[in-house]
Amino acid sequence: MTNQLVMYEEELQQINSVCEQLHRDSNAKAVLVIDKNGQAIAAAGEVESLDVTSLSSLTAGNVAATGGIASLLAEKEFAGQFHEGEKTNVHLSIVAGRVILVVLFDTRSSLGLVRLRVKKASVELARILDDLVRKSASDKSQTILAEITDDDIDNLFND
């Protein structure tokens, strides 16, 4: 299977710190990084009350649908989206064509500030993701996968 996403401790820490920085700089409620297939990667801010798994899947679905609209209109992609709510607003942007950066914010912030801070964070995030792709391509050990035996898989279902 190709195109597998692998996350390591070092890069996750870096992504987390970008999220935390963006959360502070933009006065946001929460910041999430989600892969385009709907898996949550990192989160910062007021996330305890959020259903991050569901949010990730729906956001990815939303971005995929918008991408579908873009291709029907012969656009490459719509790099950003903004949803305005009564209390919470959502800013979505695609970073490095691979992940979705989500910022949830309220009246403590503004769309202008969020956009500005997202721009800076995206550059940093794109660099980390590039490193991650290179690292995972050169890391052929993939220890956990290589170590899994048929018995391990069978045992998972023997309940």
């Binding site: 299977m1 195109n3 390591y8 569901s54 995929a64 649908a65 956990i144 290589a146």
Partner: protein
């Protein structure tokens, strides 16, 4: 596309339930959701029309236990079965790790099964996958109905690759977990081989 998270010790995979309209894809997920311990599942999301037809997808996150200290998490999705939602189906197949084809056993739905099966093959190909290679199982649903077609006939139409197939009555849960376990096992085996 599986997601191996070494930092959080998780293996994440995506399974898609495919099949013609009203074949029971959503019913499969609902049964799994109802019978799974709260700690092993997340919220089930259904993006459906007012008449409960799937509009975009259903989503159910499920944890199946640990392998060598890694939590295995499966994201189950259904596609909308109705023919005119093809654009949505293509989107949901992106990044898929395993597919369940749910066939409607009713003899009147044979044409719909064929059409959906061909559509699955085409849409997978468009995303760069091959139905002949991807982890894939078939479920023959609605086996309890009096107008159910003989298995041999269904096999011929929906399972030329002769992969594992299961008879099911999804409303009562018959065959639902057998199908899920079979596809999850294939996905993990493929992951192991790929790694």
């Amino acid at each position: 596309m599986s997601f191996i998270n070494y930092a959080q010790r998780e293996i994440n995979c995506k399974i898609v339930y495919y099949g013609p309209g009203l074949c029971g894809k959503t019913t499969n997920l609902q049964y799994i959701y109802n019978k799974t311990n709260p700690e092993a599942k997340g919220k089930m999301i259904s993006l459906a029309t007012e008449t409960e037809r799937t509009l975009f997808f259903d989503f159910l996150p499920l944890s199946l236990g640990e392998i060598r200290g890694f939590r295995t998490r499966f994201h189950l999705y259904t596609v909308p079965g109705q023919v005119f939602y093809d654009a949505s189906r293509k989107l949901i197949l992106k990044g898929v790790d395993g597919v369940v084809f749910v066939a409607d056993s009713q003899i009147e739905r044979m044409e719909a099964n064929i059409e959906s099966y061909e559509n699955l093959r085409d849409n997978l190909q468009e995303q760069g996958y091959s139905l002949d290679k991807i982890p894939y199982v078939v479920q023959y649903n609605k086996r309890d109905l009096p107008n159910a077609a003989p298995l041999t006939e269904l096999e011929e139409v929906c399972n030329p690759r002769k992969v594992n197939s299961f008879e099911a009555v999804a409303t009562k849960g018959v065959g639902v977990f057998d199908t899920l376990k079979a596809v999850a096992k294939l996905v993990l085996t493929e992951l192991k081989r790929g790694g």
